[in-house]
């Protein structure tokens, strides 16, 4: 092992020990994959959804993401935003000055926050106050020329504005209409939603985080994972609806409750209750069905001298897995937990709650004087599955992801140099890969392109609308 445990030497790793040996042992399959996916060369390949035009009257992350999946796969997406203001997500940014300028011609001192990233790539951004009777004609024209629309307003709002499914299907029977929102129709019809509400109300937060018994709380995920997750589920619905339309020639309506989507990740929770009346509980970084199979806290940070506290203080967690009997034996041998091995020889015994509390406490005790990479190294050397809990910087610096192209820099045509990790990490497709052409555009940036070039309105009319703030 190298002196500095952070350094990984090739001779310490399992597998080939030199470049020559690697060449010799290299599987042709890997070469094949490299040639097939060819990271960096995506723009030379066709787009799967070329020819699909989608309208996006969406906000924040959940519903925009359902459409951004389409846009990355080549659909022509027209994002319709409120004039001057745009999607409220543009105004939500993490700490500090994480805005990219400009937002809009009329607001030179306002930018779009980084929170908008990954939710609206490759889209044409127009502005339109579509609830005005004066703008209905333009809205309906777009409906006639599009394959579908995603909206996120309270149930019935688009109906009141005469642009819900029952209106638009009269204009375009092939139209696929998606409503994405909080609770869906039913007694709680008017409840709105946020990611945190979805996580909380669906029961997901109640099984996330450690149990109160060991110092935990019901926890939401730091990121808006249910926004991203349920948006992706809508995309599946849209693709299925497009397939159905090829057979029947008819559009359809998709109604999608974010709160209900989150229950999908709950796995066996409801059936468990149905069978035994047991309410599923939280088990934090451990596993209810496998042991040892969890994340432990190590005593020393991997970067004790780093300036950033996320590195200096937090780079201390390691994932360890050794639930099979042989692996468990090995883990007990390397950690010196012989008494625990004698006590919990079978998996059935060690997966019990009391056993897990004892086992993980002992593992953390063993890791008390070790850094994260030492713990991982010791486990890996013993043939066990172990990985450090990485932060964003480590993800960025990881050669594996760089080689696969899932983290990469892009030169956005408007906003310049942007680090991208979203589009290309959502699965590799050999023939029709996802592509990222631009991260987003300013509010109303494509007004002329869509109103004039696509719909044929004269520019004088577009300017008049602009003056009145209708677009």
């Amino acid at each position: 092992m190298a002196k500095d445990p952070r350094v990984t030497r090739i001779e310490d790793l399992p597998g080939p020990k030199s470049k020559e040996e690697f060449e010799e042992m290299k599987m042709p399959y890997e070469e094949y994959c490299k040639a097939q996916f060819d990271p960096g060369n995506e723009p030379s390949k066709p787009n799967a959804l070329n020819g699909i035009r989608w309208m996006s009257t969406t906000m924040y992350i959940f519903t925009p993401h359902s459409v951004s999946n389409l846009a990355e796969m080549g659909a022509e997406v027209i994002k319709v935003e409120m004039p001057r203001m745009g999607d409220p997500m543009r105004h939500c940014a993490p700490f500090n000055e994480t805005y990219l300028y400009p937002l809009h011609d009329s607001r030179p001192m306002t930018g779009t926050g980084m929170g908008y990233l990954n939710a609206n790539p490759n889209e044409y951004h127009i502005s339109m106050d579509y609830h005005l009777p004066e703008m209905k004609e333009a809205f309906y024209s777009l409906v006639r020329m599009s394959d579908g629309l995603t909206e996120c307003y309270r149930p019935g709002t688009f109906d009141r504005w005469k642009q819900s499914f029952r209106y638009v299907q009269e204009m375009n029977p092939r139209f696929i209409y998606v409503w994405g929102g909080g609770f869906g129709y039913g007694p709680k019809c008017f409840g709105g939603s946020y990611d945190i509400l979805g996580q909380a109300h669906a029961g997901l937060a109640s099984v996330t985080g450690f149990h109160e018994y060991i110092g935990g709380h019901a926890t939401k995920h730091s990121n808006w994972c249910i926004d991203w997750y349920s948006g992706t589920q809508i995309t599946f619905g849209i693709l299925a609806a497009l397939h159905w339309r090829r057979k029947t020639g008819l559009g359809t309506m998709i109604e999608f409750s974010q709160v209900q989507a989150a229950t999908r990740c709950l796995g066996y929770a409801a059936p468990l209750y149905g069978r035994f009346g047991i309410v599923r509980q939280r088990w934090g970084n451990w596993d209810t069905q496998l042991c040892a199979h969890g994340i432990i806290l190590c005593g020393k940070s991997d970067y004790p001298d780093a300036k950033n506290p996320q590195d200096r203080l937090e780079a201390r967690y390691a994932m360890i897995s050794a639930f099979q009997d042989e692996d468990w034996k090995e883990l007990c041998a390397i950690t010196g937990m012989k008494d625990l091995y004698d006590k919990y020889k079978s998996h059935k015994e060690r997966v019990e709650a009391e056993a897990q509390i004892e086992i993980y406490a002992a593992l953390e005790k063993w890791a008390e004087d070790k850094s994260r990479s030492e713990v991982v190294k010791v486990c890996q050397d013993a043939g066990l599955l172990a990985e450090p809990v990485c932060n964003d910087r480590e993800y960025y610096e990881n050669e594996h992801w760089r080689m696969r192209g899932t983290v990469r820099w892009m030169d956005d045509p408007i906003f310049g140099d942007v680090l991208q990790h979203g589009s290309y990490s959502a699965g590799l497709m050999a023939k029709t890969p996802r592509q990222l052409n631009w991260i987003w555009r300013p509010v109303g940036a494509d007004n002329v392109k869509i109103y004039h070039e696509l719909l044929g309105y004269p520019t004088s009319k577009i300017e008049a609308w602009y003056e009145k703030a209708w677009i």
């Binding site: 500090n96 502005s127 950033n308 506290p309 203080l313 045509p413 310049g416 631009w438």
Partner: protein, 161 residues
């Protein structure tokens, strides 16, 4: 919350009456001394699995090992010591204070030294109805930034990653 220390020590002529909150993340299994956020009295506690096994016992003259996460005075209106009050509550180390200034910090270049449009104000589009072209022509629209960028290239400050 796993437990509190309700300090009732005489302080400035009346009972201190400060509730010091012992957050479970730090104190779930913990033994040591801790100061009262208001009067500074040092208490010894020993907690096991979130339960106060020993203490709080006063330890006058000892240096506290740590401080409560935050503290308040419920009998005294809404007086409150948040996290990170120096000498009273535990330092709040979640954010690098030298980076997060609380004021806009205009970034013109990404961490690999290439220009980004993350600064203001920006020139208007000069298009109809807020329309934008598809390319930000740096030398034409931001000549200062372009100059700075050329300098960076010369200095070798522009990298691939």
């Amino acid at each position: 919350m796993c437990d509190i220390i309700w300090c009732k020590k005489d302080f400035e002529g009346k009972p201190c009456n400060t509730i010091n909150y012992l957050d479970p993340y730090c104190f779930w299994n913990w033994e040591g001394t801790i100061n009262c956020a208001e009067c500074g009295t040092v208490y010894y506690i020993h907690m096991i699995q979130g339960k106060m096994y020993k203490g709080p016992e006063e330890r006058p003259g000892e240096k506290p090992d740590t401080s409560p996460l935050y503290a308040d005075k419920p009998l005294d209106g809404y007086r409150f010591y948040g996290a990170g009050v120096e000498g009273r509550t535990r330092p709040f180390e979640c954010l690098p204070r030298d980076i997060y200034l609380g004021v806009p910090d205009m970034v013109k270049f990404s961490i690999r030294g290439r220009p980004v449009r993350g600064h203001r104000p920006q020139p208007p589009s000069a298009g109809i109805a807020g329309s934008y072209g598809f390319n930000w022509d740096i030398p034409k629209l931001s000549p200062d930034l372009w100059e700075e960028y050329q300098q960076k290239i010369k200095n070798g400050e522009v990298t691939e990653w």
